[in-house]
């Protein structure tokens, strides 16, 4: 991690993290991983490699089995309900399935981002929200280029536009860390690029730490700088994208058994 020493202190510290699901699947094996303030990390891996689990352990949407997780100086594994809510308020999320409230207006959806820090019942609906929140939401919508859609119902927007609204909602939360879980997996390539560009620009401009899971190699090559790659719950690679050969990256997507790797090798 060449840049981690210069940009700032560690905001995420994961040590010897294990996660075993109740089904017996070991999703994470002894993961050690740190991220500094303002850093952008791409978590790469095939489906089931454990990248989403690792991300969800960061704000305890998934309960870690053993090991320690420290995020923004909060010990996540031992935090009580109040500390956890306080932490989640500072961690913005962008979801693969977008997760806007489809029946509500775009403006209301963005205002909802502020509910953690401005819990007034007025902010339940955009129309009644406080002027500060309404203005801030419009600003956030402006930032993602969708101010003109503020009055529409969320479901009337295209998938790419909806994900940009979700980014505006995340901005409204004023987070320090952003967790993006396959943010463009549900979008077509063109809309996907627009969303990725926006996410990268915004987190850079506001100096946010971004942990983004991806499964498409191409996108990782285009956008990644630091790549953390998981394979079958093991952290396999943690380096700058330029240090990575195609072979190493593609190896992430071969099946777990050694048998399979041999077969692949034989085919070459």
């Amino acid at each position: 991690m060449p840049q981690s020493d210069t940009t700032g202190s560690n905001v995420i510290r994961v040590a010897r993290l294990n996660k075993v699901y109740s089904t017996g699947t070991q999703a994470l094996k002894d993961i050690n991983f740190t991220a500094t303030a303002g850093e952008t990390v791409v978590l790469l891996g095939a489906n089931g490699s454990g990248k989403s689990t690792l991300q969800k352990c960061l704000n305890r949407l998934v309960e870690p089995t053993s090991g320690s997780v420290e995020v923004l100086s909060t010990d996540v594994t031992t935090a009580n309900k109040r500390q956890l809510t306080a932490l989640r308020r500072q961690v913005g999320m962008v979801h693969q399935r977008i997760n806007l409230v489809r029946e509500l207006s775009v403006l209301t959806n963005v205002v909802h981002g502020a509910l953690g820090r401005a819990p007034s019942p007025r902010n339940w609906i955009g129309a009644t929200a406080k002027p500060e929140q309404r203005d801030e939401a419009m600003e956030a919508l402006h930032r993602v280029g969708l101010a003109h859609t503020a009055g529409k119902r969320a479901e009337q927007l295209s998938g790419g536009q909806q994900q940009r609204v979700a980014i505006a909602r995340m901005l409204m939360q004023r987070p320090k860390i952003v967790l993006a879980d396959e943010p463009v997996a549900a979008l077509d390539p063109h809309a996907g690029r627009a969303v990725m560009d926006m996410l990268w620009e915004i987190t850079e401009e506001q100096n946010l730490t971004l942990i983004c899971t991806l499964h498409q190699l191409e996108l990782a090559r285009t956008y990644g700088s630091r790549i953390v790659a998981l394979r079958d719950g093991n952290l396999e690679i943690d380096t700058h994208i330029s240090q990575l050969g195609n072979y190493q990256l593609e190896r992430l997507y071969t099946a777990n058994s050694a048998h399979q790797v041999v077969l692949e090798g034989a085919a070459r």
């Binding site: 949407l61 308020r89 999320m93 909802h112 953690g116 339940w124 979700a166 939360q173």
Partner: protein
């Protein structure tokens, strides 16, 4: 092959793979037979025990003929009074439904498994709603007539309780179907439970709540027309005396009025529903 053999082959079928043609007739399971015998037994016992008089049944057609001839033409003499009673019926139904629906929303939030603040609270709330629903509206009317006296107030309470039992359950079921994603997204911003319910659960359920409420209103109007028979206000209060005093022509007027009002209520509710769904949804799709 005896019938007994048929059952044994049917039973052993599940164990091994059978290549022979399945029998045309397999003997039903003994539980089905037992149930059928029980129901038949009750029906036969009833016919014997009730001592049904065939002579009185034979008089039926003549009595109905009396009613028909007595009822035509319908007597409009008391139409203004009856219209007032009908208006009272409608108002009872509207007020009762409104109260019931308003109470149903918090009740459903407490009852739904995904929004209940505590597991046991949900179980208790669902039990209460089941009790409210299991007791017929007319029985509620009797209870409230006893509690608050004769008149429309008892009817309003009876309707409200009935609507609460019905709408509370359907609202709760709708809440349980709400997509997880937006709820989690709001939760992850640090929003409180109430804010999540107001911001994500209610908007997603609103259309379904409205449709259920309209159906409740329709049902309440139908129900309110007979609540008066036990003294709980409305047009029903006029219907019983009309029959006992053999004023069939007035009775027919009342029945026709009920018919018209219930029909209009149904039309109105389906009209609103159509407006809500939009023409898109109602286009023939298959």
């Amino acid at each position: 092959m005896t019938p007994l053999d048929a059952t044994t082959t049917a039973a052993s079928d599940s164990g091994k793979t059978v290549e022979e043609l399945p029998p045309r007739f397999t003997f039903p399971k003994w539980t089905s037979v037992a149930l059928a015998v029980l129901l038949l037994g009750l029906a036969v016992n009833g016919l014997i025990r009730m001592d049904i008089s065939w002579e009185r049944m034979a008089e039926g057609p003549a009595n109905i003929w009396d009613f028909v001839t007595g009822a035509f033409p319908p007597n409009l003499e008391r139409a203004p009074n009856l219209a007032e009673a009908m208006l009272e019926t409608l108002e009872m139904a509207i007020i009762g439904t409104a109260i019931g629906v308003l109470l149903s929303v918090p009740a459903a939030v407490l009852a739904a498994q995904n929004t209940t603040p505590l597991g046991p609270v949900g179980v208790a709330m669902r039990f209460i709603l089941t009790v409210l629903r299991s007791i017929p509206e007319l029985v509620w009317a009797l209870i409230f007539v006893m509690a608050v006296g004769l008149g429309p107030l008892a009817g309003i309470f009876a309707i409200a309780v009935d609507v609460l039992g019905f709408a509370g359950r359907f609202f709760a079921e709708r809440i349980e179907e709400v997509e997880r994603g937006p709820i989690d997204a709001l939760r992850s911003t640090g929003a409180t439970g109430i804010a999540v319910v107001a911001g994500a659960v209610m908007p997603a359920s609103f259309a379904s709540f409205t449709a259920t409420s309209l159906y409740c209103l329709e049902k309440a109007i139908r129900g309110a027309t007979i609540l008066g028979m036990v003294g709980a206000g409305g047009i029903g209060m006029e219907l019983t005396p009309a029959f006992t005093l053999r004023q069939f022509d007035t009775a027919l007027t009342i029945i026709l009025m009920i018919l018209v009002v219930v029909f209009l209520a149904e039309q109105l509710s389906s009209l609103v529903r159509r407006k809500m769904l939009g023409t898109d949804q109602l286009q023939r799709a298959v």
